[in-house]
Amino acid sequence: MEKPLKVLIVEDSEDDTLLVIRELKLGDYTPTFQRVDTAAAMQTALRNQEWDVIVADYNLPSFSALEALRLLKDSGLDLPFIIVSGSITDETAVAAMKAGAHDYIMKDNLKRLVSAIERELHEAEVRRERKHLQRRVVEYEELNTLKSTLLSTVSHELRTPLTTIKGYSTMLLDYDRRLKRNEKQEYLSAIDRATDRMTELVDHLLDMSRLEAGLLKLDKTPTNITALLQTTIAEARLRTPGHKIVLNLPKAVLKLNSDGRRIRQVVDNLINNATKYSKVGSIVTVEAKSQDSELVISVADQGKGIPRENVEKIFDRMFNLEHRLAQDPGGLGLGLALCKALVEAHGGRIWVESELGKGSVFHLALPREAMTEGEAYVEKE
């Protein structure tokens, strides 16, 4: 029965290396090995190859087992580390074990090596298993927290438009004759807006769960991005007349093979955020251009900006949920996480540049992937 074993040997002597190998073969192992005798060689070996076990001489001319142990620790790998040495004092043995060595074997008692390796391989396996389980538990706990945070956020976010609907409709019923006609109209449109808000919320939730289940399919067709942005901005201007929304487009019509509905959803979301987080009267600039092999769309606001430490996290679902309840503007906080997922589903990237007090610029870059023959583009509209 062959037992392959990948051994990294930290040793300056060829002869001693061969003794170790011979011992392993006697123990029915089929070792493949590499001998290193400097820190640099060991780092390279750890980085470039997988190992089952490290066997190290205690003292080398330009390296030592203790340094080797430190390198192993720094690499983050958890490998059995066994020291083989000619001479040993109690102090050095204790120092080595404290530093993390798993066993200490005398060169004149090498037959102990195989049993030590077998035991340590098993121990390492147990440690790996335990670590794996611990990771799973942490993941599970995170998921659980996410779920309950999501539930309470959703419940809170649904209750707000529901309050408008319940409140205004019961008011219209109870006080019908005491309300003026234009007042009634106002309440009815508020109810209408509240149902839109709830629909959006439900759509977001569905998209998110479809994404998670891997069920969100893109419907890619040749899309006129120029026209798409013009329509999106025209509607955004109607929605938020308080902001000045500027659209900068190149002369040539921008086209892309994409799911236009989804691209629109992303741009819409970014514009909504831009207006939500900046003062009424400030400017929101939407830009699009062809850049190398990508089509880049940017949405810039003059809002309060995002703190540096949050710039990376802002697209993270968990982060947004946790910070949502503490912040003022409404919404589920899934918007940016959803944008990211949708852009990535297109093979693209999304990122933000932001300066506190000056504003944020969100960019999304979509690859202008090779068009198939059938979708030959006409560059003029």
Binding site: S152, S155, H156, E157, R159, T160, L162, T163, T164, I165, K166, G167, Y168, T170, M171, L173, D174, Y175, R178, A190, R193, A194, L325, D328, G330
Partner: protein
């Protein structure tokens, strides 16, 4: 029934325009005087101006949130006697007991009908008068 001659003033602290309008209008129709604040700071400022008979308080507010407003009011001898009715979308039992422990007179969960809102107020005012 409340005497219309001595109108109670209700201060509504709520950041959502629609919900604030709803509560204000119902209470006006029921004969109360209504003051409105859109955040915690403004709410406290109006409360300190005096003459407030009851506060209807949202918990999730910009600037100073409803919890802070509640604590400030209950810790301030000038304001602590004003009943504060919490009006929130947080339906948790724990939050409810925290709010009541912090001195809230009642805890109303959104959504709420016009009739339920109108019924909850005289009840609290009667309680206050007894004390």
């Amino acid at each position: 029934m409340l005497k219309r001659s001595s109108k109670t003033t209700v201060l509504i602290i709520e950041d959502e325009d629609d919900i604030r309008t709803f509560a204000s209008r119902v209470l006006e129709l029921e004969g109360y005087r209504v003051l409105q604040a859109v955040d915690g700071d403004e709410g406290l400022r109006l409360a300190r101006q005096g003459g407030i008979g009851l506060v209807l308080l949202d918990l999730r507010l910009p600037k100073r949130d409803g919890w802070a407003v509640l604590r400030q009011m209950k810790g301030d001898p000038e304001l602590s006697s004003i009943p504060v009715v919490v009006f929130t979308a947080s339906a948790g039992a724990l939050q409810r007991s925290w709010a009541l422990a912090a001195g809230a007179a009642d805890y109303l969960v959104k959504p709420l009908s016009a009739a339920s809102l109108k019924k909850s107020i005289p009840h609290i005012l009667r309680q206050k008068r007894r004390h």
